[in-house]
């Protein structure tokens, strides 16, 4: 089947089989930030934005993205660079494997709630699993970024 979608701002047309997952399609098109962790829709590692909403690319058929807009971390470098330094400052990335999913979902969070409480941050990021950090580092990093923004330091 032939599908056409907008990937990171560029139109892409490709032939896919009916059971190709969006995750595989994206990896085959050079989006290596999108990683497969659990393949059971549980870990959030493969998070991408589908029409601006965060979804698990391991659980979406590529054909269902036909005609839609898909954004991966490769397409959001500038937006992500604003706050990933704050996460790194807290030592929250450690092995770094979960980071792309965390960053994608944090972008979605901040677009939906520009000034979230710590509870809102935790609730929104509950679907992103991290085996290293215990999540406090990520929360502190996002909080530090928001505080810096409020203080006009960014």
């Amino acid at each position: 089947m032939e599908i056409t979608l907008t990937l990171n701002g560029k139109k892409r047309t490709a032939s896919v089989s009916p059971d190709t997952m969006l995750f595989d399609f994206l990896r085959n098109h050079g989006c290596y930030s999108v990683k497969c962790g659990c393949e059971t829709s549980a870990c959030g590692l493969c998070t991408v934005l589908l029409d601006g909403k965060p979804v698990l690319s391991c659980s979406v058929l590529a054909v269902r993205a036909d005609g839609h807009t898909v954004t991966t971390l490769e397409g959001l470098q500038e937006e992500a660079s604003e706050f990933v330094g704050f996460i790194a400052d807290q030592g929250a990335e450690q092995c770094g494997f979960c980071n792309p999913g965390f960053v994608m979902n944090t972008i979605a969070l901040l677009r939906e709630h520009p000034d979230p409480t710590d509870d809102e941050i935790r609730a929104y990021l509950a679907g992103n699993l991290c085996r290293c950090s215990g999540y406090e580092g990520q929360t502190r990093g996002i909080r530090a970024y928001l505080n810096a923004k409020k203080e006009g330091l960014l």
């Binding site: 829709s41 589908l50 698990l56 979902n105 992103n128």
Partner: protein
């Protein structure tokens, strides 16, 4: 591993219905449960564009399109004000936002999964389902039906004033519930549902003028419900949890109801 031979996006519900009659055809919902299976699907039927993905306010009901995502339900202000946020409370622990942006109301209800948070809540709230050929049936009746080879198009929730409370116990945040319950008081009838038993949710009804206490309701429900064991919890543990969660949910509903009545008197 999931294998799909053919992907079909039908032009009409009739075409979708006919395609769905074949033995190895599957109607796609959010695909999150289906994805975990190890099966070969002949035709995967995508209803995008045929069933709505929004929530329509008809005046006396909320008519929820089968393709509305759980996140749409969770963030719908009217639905949550109506249900004392029981809908939001029942959905917010399901995996994560990314998952709930994919999982559909129709897929959750049509599957009538034993672990479902959605069925437990909507059953207590008196919801009905609209099926393309069968017509409208109550969710309670739908839960007792065997395999249904029809298309679920809408879930209908009456907008009658209701006081509700949803509680669940999970071994770990975002995991399947070990047990869940929803209590809803509407027109003097208190409906209590118990799900994740781990069997399908079941409803119980108590007239509030009978003066029965939250403790007695919890004992009655725990005594009458059939529980089972699985890797998450034993039958006995679930029965114990049932007493605690039902008592808390009913107490919460009765307190909120009394507070609402007091506000109305003022």
């Amino acid at each position: 591993m999931l294998t799909i031979d053919k992907y079909l996006r039908p032009a009409t519900l009739e075409e979708a219905y006919e395609a769905a009659q074949k033995k190895n055809s599957v109607i796609l919902g959010g695909m999150l449960w289906l994805r975990l299976g190890n099966r070969r699907i002949g035709t995967a039927i995508d209803l995008t564009g045929l069933v709505p993905d929004g929530i329509e306010d008809t005046g006396d009901t909320y008519r929820i399109g089968a393709y509305a995502t759980l996140r749409t339900l969770e963030t719908h202000e009217g639905l949550n004000i109506l249900t004392d946020h029981a809908v939001r409370d029942s959905l917010c622990s399901i995996v994560g936002v990314q998952f709930r942006n994919l999982a559909t109301a129709g897929g959750s209800i049509f599957g009538r999964f034993g672990f479902s948070d959605v069925v437990t809540t909507f059953l207590a709230l008196g919801a009905s389902v609209e099926l393309y050929k069968t017509g409208t049936v109550t969710l309670e009746e739908f839960c007792t039906m065997g395999r249904v080879n029809d298309i679920l198009t809408h879930i209908v929730l009456p907008k009658s004033p209701v006081t509700a409370s949803y509680l669940a116990h999970r071994n770990a945040a975002t995991d399947f519930p070990v047990l869940n319950t929803c209590a809803a008081l509407c027109d003097g009838i208190l409906t209590v549902t118990v799900g994740s038993r781990p069997l399908r949710a079941v409803p119980y009804r108590f007239p509030t003028d009978s003066g029965i206490s939250a403790e007695n309701i919890a004992e009655t429900v725990a005594g009458q419900t059939v529980f089972a064991s699985n890797t998450r919890a034993s039958e006995d543990y679930r029965r114990h949890l049932c007493r605690v969660l039902v008592r808390r949910a009913v107490t919460d509903v009765l307190e909120k109801s009394a507070a609402k009545a007091a506000r109305e008197v003022k």
